[in-house]
């Protein structure tokens, strides 16, 4: 029976760990489908985590923290747009600037406001999100398999987790079944076609970037006001890059990007589970190796399997009118 409970906790952890990746990947999807590279998911996630924790601490509610994080991330996305859409700057450089700036700024502000290098005060229960037990979770638990899946794997997560999984079909619907989605995809493929159809290329890209800001804010807030009770230095820990990798691995499609996020989430859950565990024959693997698994997987997948991933054609290119 221990094996069963291992599986259950592994799957439950996968859902939990994948959540910020899903938010960030969906955020990245909007930006990149519109033709704007978003390498800055990492920095924005970090900023959102800091702002959400700080906001929740001062205002007493994690919801206020989340709202402030959204405002912060939308601003950063617009800044990225201002540099790379309006002023046609290099999109990667703009993203790198945001990432580096946010590492420094969050650390420095935390030191200035709370006296501790890169830490915000621990939030109390009112200031952070709590886990939700779904209705009848306890009652249904005895049912074999289905009950376990419902009560022990699906139930008992933060609200973010549920939002994330509802989000993916909504993103799919917006991108493929609405006129905004059509324009979004067109502007990332051939902005001239959009321009000659009388639609603003910049306006479409800015709209995409605003949605991007809102979604990535959820990823950051989840880190500092849900699964953790404070912000700490560089707490995004490469999740922004991982989400981008999942997006590329998922070929810029919501469904496959979700699967990629789950895969990364699963390997991360696995490495946590494997730490310190004695395996047959091999023995205990040093923790550093185990922790490297998700990142090694990212490199292998990106290098080996996505050779045929076709990026939006106009990605990374500022739109310049030609006659």
């Amino acid at each position: 029976m221990e094996f069963m409970s291992d599986i259950v906790s592994l799957l439950s952890a996968t859902l939990r760990i994948s959540t910020p990746l899903i938010f960030a990947a969906m955020a990245g999807l909007f930006a990149e489908r519109s033709g704007v590279i978003d390498f800055g998911l990492e920095g924005k996630m970090l900023a959102a985590a800091f702002v959400a924790a700080t906001g929740a601490y001062f205002l007493g509610s994690p919801w206020f923290g989340l709202i402030l994080a959204i405002v912060c991330c939308v601003s950063l996305s617009l800044l990225h747009g201002f540099a790379s859409v309006t002023h046609k700057g290099d999109q990667v450089v703009s993203c790198v600037a945001i990432n580096i700036l946010m590492i420094g700024l969050t650390t420095a502000l935390a030191a200035a406001w709370f006296g501790e290098e890169g830490l915000t005060p621990t939030l109390n229960d009112d200031q952070r999100f709590f886990e939700i037990n779904l209705p009848f979770a306890d009652a249904l638990r005895p049912i074999p398999i289905l009950g376990t899946i419902y009560s022990d794997i699906i139930s008992g997560h933060y609200i973010f987790v549920y939002i994330a999984y509802i989000l993916v079909p909504i993103v799919y619907w917006v991108v493929f079944k609405t006129s905004f989605g059509l324009r979004l995809r067109a502007v990332g493929e051939n902005p001239s076609a959009v321009d000659t159809a009388g639609i603003g290329v910049y306006a479409t890209r800015y709209k995409a970037l605003m949605i991007n800001g809102v979604l990535v804010a959820f990823a950051g807030a989840y880190l500092s006001t849900a699964i953790n009770a404070n912000f700490f230095r560089e707490m995004s820990a490469g999740r922004g890059y991982l989400a981008l990798a999942a997006l590329i691995f998922g070929k810029w499609h919501p469904k496959t990007a979700l699967l990629a996020c789950l895969l990364f989430g699963f390997t991360d859950a696995l490495q946590i589970r494997l730490q310190g565990v004695e395996l047959p024959i091999i023995g205990v693997i040093p923790v550093q190796f185990i922790q490297a698994i998700p990142y090694v997987l990212t490199v292998v997948l990106l290098a080996g399997f996505v050779g045929k991933a076709i990026a939006p054609r106009a990605i990374g290119q500022p739109y310049i009118k030609e006659g």
Binding site: K177, T178, S179, F180, L182, R183, R185, A186, E189, N190, S192, A193, V194, D195, T196, A197, G198, I199, I310, R313, K321, G323
Partner: protein, 506 residues
């Protein structure tokens, strides 16, 4: 008196210091096909982009049906009944025909009822004008001719009464051109007004009832097509009389100097693009290679010039194998053996466009005397050489220190040509020598190629301009899907015959 549906008066437009349109006035009558002809850079496309709302004029007015309109964006123009088929198609390649057409005119936030209505309307339009398009096909699966029809359908769906076509035939086979002209005539019969921008005189004579000639951003004149002829129009375009027929002395064929045996070449994606190709070229002969873009000509030319590996077969220069499966000589060695290459894509392969003209004029020979002594460039020699060559080849402006990208297409091509021809090569490989080159420079370039031939060089001319191949070549081979599908001695061969071969119908 028919009233004009579209009237432009005193349009001016500048980009920086360049005045693209200068006091342009023009009236187009309803229900006519009106031609606008001029050399590259004469300002035709700029003018039509202003009408389409893509650019805004610095001054001047546009009236539609007698009312002055203010066209601030393509949206305004579309709503005023103007449609445009751009030279480079404005289509999203991985979208379906339907998605491309409704883009921007979806009429609803979430797809549903309006989408069904759109489908019905489009089917009706296809029926009326016999466009024969499947709305669900993906653009990247369609031939160039069909993509153009999608553009026409798109404009019609958006309610175009005036349809502007910018150089519509540049990428089409002769048969596709026929189809296009049929469609345009049927549009005219339904009362649509068509503006045809072109630099091809034949099209003007075939299709239009009125023609406006532009030169250097200004109107050079308006004519009724029936009351003019090609020679007069060409003279108006260039500003001086132009030789439309090339004077060619009779063929003096020498030995075979260049031979290709069973050649196979793959492209970068490992797809076989040249399939079992055989031909030979004699001294004093121009061999024309015709074909629609993308049928393996590019890969063939690259293999012949030593910049692409040969998959199998061999290439021989003076009976010596220069390239086969196992090894190939690089362009530097080939140059020394007397082979010169004018690449198809001059900006990417022929020039370093942000270098100065004099650097490009000697590039490839820069390590030789007198340009270089003990590995140091001798600036004074390079400069005096450049001045002389630019004078010989009539490169304008004659400014050796000017950055190459500031020269027009024709003058850039002359820079390459002078570099490659000045060493008197025995074999000359030329790709698209006059693509994007104005008519005056075309005449000059053609004459130089003929001169080389008369001096005994063996020339391979690869061109998608059928007219060019027909007028220069002594012998013509046609390439389709990587294979040579026909060979004709250039006497009494018609563009129809070659066209059928180019389309793979034979």
């Amino acid at each position: 008196m028919v009233s004009p549906i579209l009237e432009l008066s005193n349009i001016n437009k500048s980009f920086g210091h360049v005045q693209a349109n200068k006091e342009v006035s023009l009236a187009i009558n309803k229900g006519t096909i009106h031609g606008i002809i001029g050399e590259n850079g004469a300002g035709k496309s700029t003018l039509m982009s202003i009408v389409y709302g893509f650019y805004q004029a610095d001054s001047g007015t546009i009236s539609i049906n007698g009312n002055i309109v203010n066209l601030k964006s393509p949206r305004d123009s579309i709503e005023s009944g103007i449609g445009m088929v751009h030279q480079h198609f404005m289509l999203v390649e991985n979208f379906s025909v339907l998605e491309n057409i409704i883009l921007g005119f979806e009429g609803e936030i979430v797809f549903g009822k309006k989408l069904d209505e759109a489908k019905k309307n489009l089917l009706n339009l296809c029926e009326t004008y016999k466009l024969n398009i499947d709305l669900n096909s993906i653009i990247s699966d369609l031939s160039v001719g069909f993509r153009q029809r999608v553009e026409i359908l798109k404009a019609l769906y958006r309610g175009a009464e005036i349809l502007i076509l910018d150089e519509p035939t540049g990428v089409l086979t002769p048969q596709e051109v026929d189809e296009l002209f049929k469609i345009l005539r049927s549009l005219q019969q339904e009362g649509k007004t068509i503006v045809l921008i072109t630099h091809k005189l034949n099209e003007i004579m075939d299709l239009t009832s009125n023609v406006t000639v532009m030169r250097q951003g200004e109107i050079a004149g308006h004519k009724k097509t029936q009351l003019t002829n090609k020679e007069e129009l060409a003279e108006m375009m260039v500003g001086r009389s132009v030789l439309l027929r090339i004077n060619k002395s009779p063929l003096k064929k020498g030995d075979v100097v260049f031979r290709v045996n069973n050649l196979q070449v793959k492209d970068d994606l490992d797809v076989l693009r040249v399939k079992n190709v055989n031909f030979e070229i004699n001294e004093g002969e121009i061999l024309g290679l015709a074909g629609v873009t993308g049928n393996g000509q590019t890969e063939l030319l690259e293999a012949l010039s030593g910049i692409r590996k040969v998959e199998s077969g061999e290439i021989q220069l003076f009976e010596e194998t220069i390239s086969d499966k196992n090894n190939f000589l690089n362009p530097k060695d080939l140059k020394e053996k007397g082979l010169a290459h004018v690449p198809e894509d001059r900006q990417r392969m022929g020039l370093i466009t942000n270098f100065k003209a004099n650097e490009n004029l000697i590039f490839g020979y820069h390590h030789q005397q007198p340009f270089s002594k003990s590995s140091v460039l001798v600036e004074s020699e390079i400069l005096s050489y450049s001045k002389k060559v630019m004078n010989d080849y009539d490169v304008r402006p004659q400014a050796p220190n000017l950055i190459t990208s500031n020269f027009s297409g024709g003058n850039q091509q002359k820079i390459i040509l002078s570099r490659e021809l000045n060493k008197n090569p025995k074999v000359l490989l030329v790709g698209q020598p006059t693509r994007g080159v104005d008519i005056g420079a075309i005449e000059f370039i053609h004459q130089r190629l003929i001169d080389m031939r008369d001096k005994g060089a063996a020339i391979l001319l690869v061109s998608v301009e059928l007219e060019e191949v027909l007028s220069l070549s002594d012998r013509i081979v046609v390439m389709f899907d990587g294979k040579i599908v026909g060979e004709k001695v250039n006497q009494n061969v018609t563009d129809r015959e070659i066209g059928l071969l180019m389309a793979g119908i034979s």
